[in-house]
C-alpha cells in the first residue's frame, strides 16, 4: 500500500486543486445517492415485494395498511444496516491506518470474535439479557482481543501476515470456546446459532436506540481522527517531525475502532470483510488521504452491507441468508484477489 501510494501522497502534500476537491465532493454526493437507492431497495425487496410508491406511502403517510406494516418492519432493519455498515467501514479504515496494514479488518484481526465471545459469556453465564447490558462486554472483549492481537502481531514491527495469523488463531480459539458453550447448553445453541453468523433480522427500534449513542460517538471520533491518522500513516519518524502526538492518536484510534466494532457486533453478531473491502475500493479513487477515505467509507460501507442483506433476502426466498454470510462469500474472493495482487515486498 505504502509503495504504490507514494506518488499520490506527494501530490497530496500541495493543497488539492479546487477542481479535484469539487470532483471528490460530487463523488460523495453520488455515493449518498447510491446509498439512498440501496436503502429504498432494502425496504422494498423481501418475501413480500413492495413498489416504490408503497415504500413512500409507508414512510411518510403511514396509515396502518399491510404494506405500511411491512415498511415499518424493514425500516428498523435498514436503519440498523446503515449504522452498522458505517461503523464497520470506518473501523476498517481506522484499523488499516493504525496498523499501517492494508489487510486489517475487525473480523480478520479477531476483534469481532472477541466481542462475540464476551457477549456469549455474558448471556450464558452471567445472565445478562439486554443489549445495553452486554454491549459493555462486547467493548471489553473487542478491546482485549484488539490489544492482544496488536501485541502478539509484533506491535510496531507488525506485518500483515503476522497480524492476520495472530487474529485468525485467536478467533479459532474463541470460536472453539463458543462451540463448547453451545454443546453444553442447548438453550444457548438455539439462540446463538443465528446470532453468531451476523444478521440484521433481529433489528427493532429498541436495538437501534440502544446502540445508537455508541455508534454515533465512535463515528464522530473516527472522523475527527482522520487528520492525525494521516500523519501516523507516514511512519513514526515523519509523524514526529510533523509534530503529531503519536501515542494519543493511537490510543484514540484504538478506542474508536473498539467502540465501533463492539457496538456493531453486539447489535448484529460478527460480520466480516466489510471493513476490509470498502476502504480498499475507496482508496483506489480517493488516494491515501483519510479525510476523504473515511467519509466515503462511511457512506459506501452501508451500501455493501444493505446490498448484501438484499441479496441474502432474494437468493433464499421466502427465507433468507444472513448478511454476515453474504459479506463473507463476497469478501473472501476479494481478499484473496488483494493478496495475490500485492508483491512480497509490500506485505
Amino acid at each position: 500500500m505504502l509503495v504504490d501510494s507514494v506518488p499520490e501522497q506527494r501530490a497530496e502534500r500541495a493543497p488539492a486543486p479546487p477542481t479535484r476537491r469539487a470532483v471528490r465532493s460530487a463523488g460523495l454526493l453520488v455515493a449518498v445517492a447510491i446509498l439512498a437507492v440501496v436503502a429504498v431497495a432494502s425496504i422494498a425487496v423481501g418475501a413480500k415485494e413492495l413498489s416504490v410508491a408503497q415504500v413512500w406511502h409507508g414512510l411518510f403517510a403511514d396509515s396502518g395498511t399491510y404494506a405500511d406494516v411491512v415498511v415499518d418492519e424493514r425500516l428498523a432493519r435498514t436503519v440498523l444496516g446503515l449504522l452498522v455498515g458505517a461503523a464497520l467501514g470506518l473501523s476498517g479504515a481506522v484499523l488499516q491506518a493504525l496498523t499501517r496494514n492494508p489487510l486489517a479488518d475487525p473480523g480478520l484481526l479477531g476483534i469481532n470474535a472477541g466481542a462475540s465471545a464476551a457477549v456469549v459469556t455474558a448471556i450464558t453465564f452471567l445472565g445478562v439479557t439486554s443489549l445495553t447490558g452486554y454491549v459493555w462486554f462486547a467493548f471489553l472483549g473487542a478491546a482485549a482481543v484488539g490489544a492482544l492481537v496488536w501485541f502478539l502481531g509484533g506491535s510496531r514491527g507488525a506485518t500483515p501476515v503476522r497480524l492476520a495469523l495472530a487474529g485468525t488463531a485467536i478467533s479459532a480459539a474463541l470460536y472453539g470456546y463458543l462451540q463448547a458453550v453451545m454443546i453444553m447448553d442447548e438453550a444457548a445453541l438455539a439462540r446463538m446459532r443465528f446470532w453468531t453468523v451476523g444478521s440484521l433480522s433481529s433489528a427493532t427500534d429498541g436495538t437501534i436506540r440502544q446502540v445508537l449513542p455508541f455508534l454515533v460517538a465512535g463515528t464522530v471520533l473516527a472522523l475527527a481522527l482522520a487528520r492525525p491518522l494521516n500523519a501516523v500513516e507516514m511512519g513514526d519518524d515523519t509523524a514526529k517531525a510533523l509534530g503529531a502526538n503519536l501515542n494519543r492518536t493511537r490510543a484514540l484510534a484504538m478506542l474508536a475502532a473498539t467502540v465501533l466494532c463492539g457496538a456493531a457486533t453486539a447489535a448484529c453478531g460478527p460480520i466480516v470483510f466489510v471493513g476490509l473491502m470498502v476502504p480498499h475500493i475507496v482508496r483506489s479513487f480517493t488516494g491515501p488521504d483519510l479525510r476523504w477515505i473515511m467519509p466515503y467509507a462511511a457512506v459506501l460501507s452501508p451500501v455493501l452491507l444493505l446490498g448484501s442483506d438484499v441479496i441474502g433476502r432474494v437468493v433464499a426466498r421466502p427465507s433468507e441468508v444472513q448478511v454476515g454470510i453474504i459479506t463473507a462469500i463476497i469478501g473472501g474472493p476479494v481478499f484473496i484477489f488483494l493478496v495475490r495482487r500485492r508483491r512480497t515486498a509490500q506485505l
Binding site: L103, G107, L108, F151, L152, G153, G154, G157, T159, P160, V161, R162, A164, L165, A166, T168, A169, I170, A172, A173, L174, Y175, G176, Y177, Q179, A180, M182, I183, M184, E186, L189, A190, R193, F194, T196, V197, V272, F273, V321, Q322, G324, I325, A328, I329, G331, G332, P333, F335, I336, V339, R340, T344, A345, L347
Partner: protein, 361 residues
C-alpha cells in the same frame, strides 16, 4: 516480513552437535542419527501406548492396566476381550491414527508455510472438511459413512483451492497463509449458513461433529485410515530431506539440486490427504495439528521439520486428550475437541508470546 524471512532462511546452527552421529555403510551411504530425537520418539511412542492402555481401561466397565495389556496380547478372558477388542480398541486406534495424521499434516504445513501458525486449522482445511460434512448432515441427513465421505471431499477440494489460488509462479509461504485465511472465512460462512438452515436435531449433531469427537468409532473407520497412513507416511518421509533443504529458502535449495515445487506439491498433497482423512474420521479436532509439531520441536531441540516426532506427539496428545475428556466430564459428555480446543488455545497464546519474542512469526 523481509527481516522475518531472512531469520527464517538462515539455517539454525545445530544444537548439541555432539549427540548427532552419522551411520556410514561400507558402500558409501550415510544417515545422520540424532540421538536426542530418537529418544524423544521412543518416549512418545511409549507415552502413546500407555495412554491408549489407560483409555481402553476407562469407562463404565473399568479394566486394570495389566488386564488390558494381557487382553491386547490375546490372553484375557472372553468378557474382557469383547469390551477391549470390539468396543474400545477401535476407538483408541482411530484416536491414535487421527492424532498421528494431524501431527504429521501440521508439521508439513508449518514447514511449507514457514510459519509456526500455518497449521491446517488456521488455513481453513478443517473448515472446508466441515463444510463437506455439514452438507451431508444438514441437506441430506446422511449416514455416518456419507458424512465421512463428504468431509473427505470437502477437505480435498479446499486444499486444492488453497493451493491453486496461492499459486503464482510458485507458492510462497505468506501467500499460502493469507489465501488460506480467506478460504477459511468463506468456508466458515457456509458452515454458519448450513447450521442456521438445519432443524434443531441436525444442528446439535452438526455442532458436536464440528468440535471433533471419537464417540462411536469402530473398525470400519480404522481400516481406511490405517491404509492411507500406511501409504502416505513412507512417501512423506522419503521427501523429508528435500523439505529440510527448502527451509533454507527457494534459491539455496534450487542450487542444492532440490526440485522445490515438486517436493512442495507432493508434501502438500500428502498433508491435505492426511488432514482431510483425519477430519473425516473424527471431525476437525482443534489445535492438535498446530501444537504437536511445536511441542515435538521443543522436545527434540532440532531445527528440522521433525516429522516422525510430530507424528508420535500428535497420537499421544489426542489419546491423552480423549482420556481427559472422559475422566473430567464423564463418558460422552464433552467431545475430545473441546479439551484440545481449550488446551490448544492456552498453548497457542503462550506460543504467540514466545515466538514473538524470538521474532519467528
Amino acid at each position: 516480513m523481509r527481516t522475518a524471512e531472512t531469520t527464517e532462511k538462515t539455517p539454525q546452527a545445530p544444537t548439541g552437535t555432539g549427540r548427532r552421529r552419522a551411520l556410514r555403510t561400507p558402500g558409501g551411504l550415510s544417515v545422520r542419527l540424532d540421538t536426542r530425537a530418537l529418544v524423544v520418539v521412543v518416549l512418545l511412542l511409549a507415552a502413546a501406548f500407555a495412554a491408549s492402555v489407560v483409555l481402553i481401561g476407562t469407562g463404565d466397565f473399568p479394566i486394570s492396566f495389566g488386564d488390558v495389556v494381557k487382553t491386547l496380547f490375546g490372553e484375557g478372558n472372553p468378557g474382557q476381550e469383547l469390551v477391549v477388542n470390539e468396543l474400545r480398541l477401535p476407538r483408541v486406534l482411530v484416536g491414535l491414527l487421527v492424532g498421528a495424521s494431524l501431527g504429521l499434516g501440521g508439521a508439513l504445513f508449518q514447514a511449507v508455510s514457514r510459519n509456526p501458525l500455518g497449521s491446517p486449522d488456521v488455513l481453513g482445511l478443517g473448515q472446508g472438511a466441515t463444510a463437506g460434512a455439514l452438507v451431508m448432515i444438514v441437506l441430506f441427513s446422511g449416514t455416518t459413512t456419507q458424512v465421512t465421505v463428504g468431509a473427505l471431499v470437502g477437505g480435498l477440494v479446499t486444499g486444492a483451492a488453497i493451493y491453486l489460488l496461492a499459486w503464482k509462479r510458485g507458492v510462497h509461504g505468506y501467500r499460502l497463509v493469507l489465501v488460506g485465511i480467506g478460504v477459511s472465512a468463506v468456508a466458515s460462512a457456509v458452515n454458519g449458513y448450513l447450521i442456521t438452515k438445519a432443524d434443531f436435531v441436525d444442528a446439535a449433531r452438526a455442532v458436536v461433529w464440528m468440535t471433533g469427537t471419537l464417540d462411536g468409532r469402530d473398525w470400519k473407520q480404522v481400516w481406511p485410515l490405517l491404509a492411507l497412513v500406511g501409504v502416505l507416511v513412507p512417501l512423506v518421509l522419503t521427501h523429508a530431506r528435500g523439505l529440510r533443504m527448502t527451509e533454507m529458502g527457494d534459491d539455496v535449495s534450487h542450487a542444492l539440486g532440490v526440485r522445490v515445487e515438486r517436493v512442495r506439491l507432493v508434501l502438500m498433497v500428502s498433508a491435505v490427504l492426511l488432514t482431510a482423512a483425519a477430519t473425516a474420521a473424527a471431525g476437525p479436532v482443534g489445535f492438535v495439528a498446530l501444537t504437536a509439531p511445536q511441542l515435538a520441536r521443543r522436545l527434540t531441540r532440532s531445527p528440522g521439520p521433525n516429522l516422525v516426532a510430530s507424528l508420535c506427539m500428535g497420537a499421544a496428545l489426542l489419546v491423552t486428550a480423549d482420556w481427559a475428556s472422559q475422566r473430567l466430564f464423564g463418558d460422552g459428555q464433552l467431545p475430545v475437541g473441546v479439551v484440545t480446543g481449550v488446551l490448544g488455545g492456552v498453548y497457542l497464546l503462550w506460543l504467540l508470546v514466545t515466538e514473538r519474542k524470538a521474532g519467528r512469526i
